[in-house]
Symmetry: C2
Amino acid sequence: MSGSKSGGLTVLVFGADGYIGWPMAMHLSKLGHKVVAVDNLARRRWDREGGTYSLLPLRSMGRRVARWQDVSGHPIEWRRADLRDFPAVDALFAEFRPQAVIHFAEQRSAPYSMVDREHATMTQVNNVVGTINVLFAIKDRVPDCHLIKLGTMGEYGTPNIDIEEGYIDIEHNGRRDRLPFPKVAGSFYHLSKVHDSNNIHFATRAWGVRATDLNQGVVYGFETEETSLHPDLHTRFDFDSIWGTALNRFCVQAAVGQPLTVYGKGGQTRGFLDIRDTMACVTLALENPAERGECRVFNQFTEQFSVLQLAELVAKVRHEHGLETTISHVPNPRVEAEEHYYNAKHQLLLDLGLKPHFLGDTLLESVIQMVEQHASRVDPVLLEQPSVSWKSGGNEVWDRYSNKEGASPASRKAVPAGSADLV
Amino acid sequence: MSGSKSGGLTVLVFGADGYIGWPMAMHLSKLGHKVVAVDNLARRRWDREGGTYSLLPLRSMGRRVARWQDVSGHPIEWRRADLRDFPAVDALFAEFRPQAVIHFAEQRSAPYSMVDREHATMTQVNNVVGTINVLFAIKDRVPDCHLIKLGTMGEYGTPNIDIEEGYIDIEHNGRRDRLPFPKVAGSFYHLSKVHDSNNIHFATRAWGVRATDLNQGVVYGFETEETSLHPDLHTRFDFDSIWGTALNRFCVQAAVGQPLTVYGKGGQTRGFLDIRDTMACVTLALENPAERGECRVFNQFTEQFSVLQLAELVAKVRHEHGLETTISHVPNPRVEAEEHYYNAKHQLLLDLGLKPHFLGDTLLESVIQMVEQHASRVDPVLLEQPSVSWKSGGNEVWDRYSNKEGASPASRKAVPAGSADLV
């Protein structure tokens, strides 16, 4: 690989308008890599569809990129394109001949994938076809290119054994093999990531593609070194039941004085990481590429928490400020184990040099403080009961707040200013 | 389940125009089940695209169904529909409220899925979306319906441990769990079946669907009790490198006096079964349904052979008739292990009562005899080098013989009469 740790790689960032994609594009740009930011802006469209929005106002990609050049002196090349459109994908590879591709460009919400049949099939087709298109473009245009693909820890589900990083050594009837770790994914979204992982693994074996599949945990935090340089550079902060995480929802509920709503018993345990560690992990993968034909899998998180533990952490931070917070258990809209063994390995990125930021009071306080500053933008409706059930799909809350295709403008819900600042 | 072993179930057979689907529809009809035969006739279209055809002439579905009623006295309801068209699928479930669905309606050729990017994505979208549509129709219309889905032994690949039936007990770091058997599929087609299996497994857990996933080996033979009743009732016999199996190709090569072409070393070992045993296996699954919420996996084959063993079997049968046959090794167009351990379990269908037909001289002789009767229909071009490579897709043979969309009629290849007898 040319370029190396001193920067200078040409990198396509697919999904560069997203929560992680945008900070990632800036981070790599600052490190001296040539960054091409690509997105179809689907996430903003899905927000308009569901009546959801980022608590932090988002600028258009054009404005973000111009502001970034302004404050950092580094250019980012911005291209609007859809990964399902192969001629567009192929043209990007032909024009830029990237050394690496970082692929975040997928529908990434489990509840959104469970709204109904259309959302389930859209999620799987969007994610699977986009990834296959990238694999063919790499094979045919730049076979040495390193694919860094965002997967999810949710691919594994919650097995009753330790979760390894992508592969497991199995001894069975006196013989041994190292095989892909069995996956038991819990939504059509999580399944789409399993499908991607299987397709990518095949492309490494059949075509010698070099790939790193990052099985990421739940990311928290809203600030990186780069986003904090100017309000125009903010990334998303989702708090609704479709796009937000439990931790974000708890912080917002705390800030507006509502009880923290835990789904079911709250024993659901997952891996978590700070968004600054996501920047570091992806950069480590980029600067230490997989070999040709290698399908490397890293579990990308730094700590495990149960949902109830997160609620208790938020309540503790509030208590230290003299504010009392209640925790309430609501019926779980998902089909999932609420008490289970969970021990997932996450050593490989540490071995590459990751220095984790752990979840502490300071981070939680900064999130709650940010929410308080933007409290007028919180529509309490978005903190109501979850709008999607795993068994029956989008419920009356979804129906009430979603803006159906073809709905008349009068029936469309208003969202706070700055939420739909499109190109 | 109403109906039971005495017949009387309402069964949708999806993919009823295919090699197995058509004999299956007749078999279940004869057993007294109410059969609705559904197909979009895609397989005939793909034949026209690739310049391939069945050695046994095929009648239209309309003519087949009429002839079947004629000779058996049993009706089969024939409906042309595409599983990707959800309103059509939903209407079938609403109209017939089936107790069971037998789902063969997928693109089922590994080489066809490897022609190029378009064929890869078409295969995965067609198979995955069709299956998701069936799952939603079951959930919303007939939650008690039993889904019997054709998977493939190729989902497992060739691990260095015994292959179990769908699940494996893993002991790891002092803990145990029973998890899905790890899959290492070897083409975009085989991967599509893995995606299906994962989606179906999820639907059983989330929605309580009852499912049987039949991981079928390579099927051989061209006759069942029902197809032999009248020439109009024949099923397909494919012998080209896209749709045919190695065994069919060897029988045709032997009949026309060509060397048998083994890909690479020929140590590739797979599970095989007689088409009459496919009839029996699917019927056993139908008449002994899975429980609500159960995702039951059966490995559906009766014997293991290597490709070289099959070539040697064909040569032996010819030798017994005083005919000498040579075996030639040609470069392997696939990316696969040519020598490997292979021991796949296949006990569960035997436990349900399967009485296997093993591959013997009689069967091979009957196939070769049938081929000899139709030898004038064999286009030797279809026995030439494989037209699709795993590394580079469709080659010059594919380009020469495929009929591209929009090709002028003059450039389309003629195929023998009766090959495209469409509705």
